[in-house]
Amino acid sequence: MDILELFRYGFIQNAFLAALLMSVSCGIAGTYIVSRRMVFISGGITHASFGGVGIGYFFGFAPLAGAAVFAVITALITENLTRRKVIRNDSIIAIMWSLGMALGIIFIYLTPGYAPNLMSFLFGSIITVSRTDLWLMLILSLGITAVFMLLYRPILYVSFDEQFARTRGIPVMRLNYLLIILVALTIVMSIRTAGIILVLSVLTIPQNTANLFTHRFGQIMLISVLLGFLASIIGLMVSYFLDIPSGATIIFCLVVIYLIARFMKVVTFGRLKSRNEHGSKEDHRAGLGTERASQGSGSSTGHQ
């Protein structure tokens, strides 16, 4: 069958649009997550949202709505407790992560009968995305794009050095809360396409691939969106023709693209050159440290 012929099908059109919208929101939110080293927090939010899916099944409302509530609450609790240093950041993430999963399992177990689409929440199913899902994804993508375009500079500065940003009068706390909520919503909207277990990769692999070639926040965002979309479309096609799960295939494509990019970088720039540069930088730092040590020691004696 011709690839273009596939686009006659409504579910393929929906999947194509879902891939595009997921790539935009995940490309942007993922760059923020990776740059700020918040991947583990995102993992916690993702898995905690399973609690909302379980409660949704049990009480008979949309599991995705439950996931959204759980994800946002988890994000706010994690941000708040981390900021106030009430508990270690990794500990609170682990607690929220396992609590969400535990609640999800309990409520799904208690739900009478069969839990429809449960596997699609866990592993994603881009070809079952509905029109309603697409509208929600469109609103989120537009929202997150607008926030990052309008507040690009403050977001960049807060992400780089929160304390300095505070001295410049940037409302760091409010910005952090806004961004963690956007991250939580991005995660929830990507659950339909990539699944709870796999969504983290859509938020991190394109960014790490982009980071092989650029060290600019804005460029990483842009390249991540393109790579995410490319991998989603290839993954979608491959999964259709081989009749294998779409979410897992998309992730597999992301990893393959990452490995190809890594190989290209090694071939282009040379592994040896990179090693030498790194080595000389470390030597340089070590050298300065030694210089300061001897200098400090020497001048101290002079003033005794």
Partner: protein, 247 residues
């Protein structure tokens, strides 16, 4: 009498239950160049953070007779992630940001100010480099450029000579002396020997604050003030600190 830029009165600061600053009184005047010394954990950085508004005092008063956004700040070296995807130029530009501006773009004047400051700290050739590609000293120059790019009225520097090589250390303090003509400077250092030719007065923080004004601060004068110097070694760099104050 001249009004101080910052008036600190009976100030106490603590982290949780741990008291860090006790009954600190300090007036900072226009064109002051104060060196702040003291042992590790003595409260030097906390004092700076209180002045910057980053740490809320537990008790006491702090009054500013100028706009607090006119403070430039160079934090301690280890604070930022050097793998963060940002260029030298972008870091310096962040020193011009104030408040939350939607879609804010730099004006032509700001661009030329950024270029000028990058040149002043000798980073012209590196301005488009990612900070991950910088040495420790180059990173510290970048942070200094960020602190001074807004031409602040007060400049607060927390150990600015960390990682910096000998040559730039001299340039750095020469630059600070020049900046002191238009800026009030507060400088935390472990090494009084290095900063003494440049500073105009010295504050020793060891929980309490002891303030000595002198045009020429040297070991002899410090003996007069009963501030014995002790050399301590922890890690690769021996530090010179004030052991304790008898006054």
């Amino acid at each position: 009498m001249e009004e101080p830029l910052v008036h600190i009165e009976n100030l106490f600061a603590a982290y949780n239950q741990l008291s860090v600053l006790r009954k600190v009184n300090l007036d900072i005047y226009e064109h002051d160049f104060i060196g702040i010394i003291g042992p590790n954990g003595g409260g030097k950085t906390t004092l700076l953070k209180v002045i910057l508004g980053l740490v809320r005092p537990k008790k006491g008063k702090i009054i500013y007779h100028f706009d607090r956004s006119q403070i430039g700040y160079l934090p301690q070296g280890s604070q930022v992630d050097d793998r963060f995807p940002i260029s030298v130029r972008e870091v310096v530009e962040s020193g011009l940001e104030t408040g939350l501006k939607m879609g804010g773009r730099l004006t032509g004047n700001s661009h030329s100010k950024v270029r000028e400051v990058i040149g002043k700290v000798g980073l012209d050739a590196l301005k488009n480099r990612s900070i991950g590609e910088l040495s420790g000293g180059e990173m510290q120059r970048t942070m200094l450029a960020r602190a001074i790019v807004s031409s602040p009225r007060m400049l607060i520097l927390d150990e600015p000579d960390t990682y910096v090589d000998n040559r730039f250390e001299m340039e750095l303090y020469g630059l600070l002396r020049e900046l002191n003509r238009t800026m009030t400077i507060l400088l935390v250092s472990h090494d009084i020997g290095i900063i003494s030719p440049y500073i105009k007065s010295i504050a020793c923080v060891n929980g309490d604050l002891h303030y000595h004004t002198s045009n020429e601060i040297n070991a002899e004068q410090l003996k007069v003030y009963n501030c014995p110097i002790e050399i301590i070694t922890h890690g690769p760099v021996p530090h010179r600190v004030m052991k304790q104050h008898n006054d």
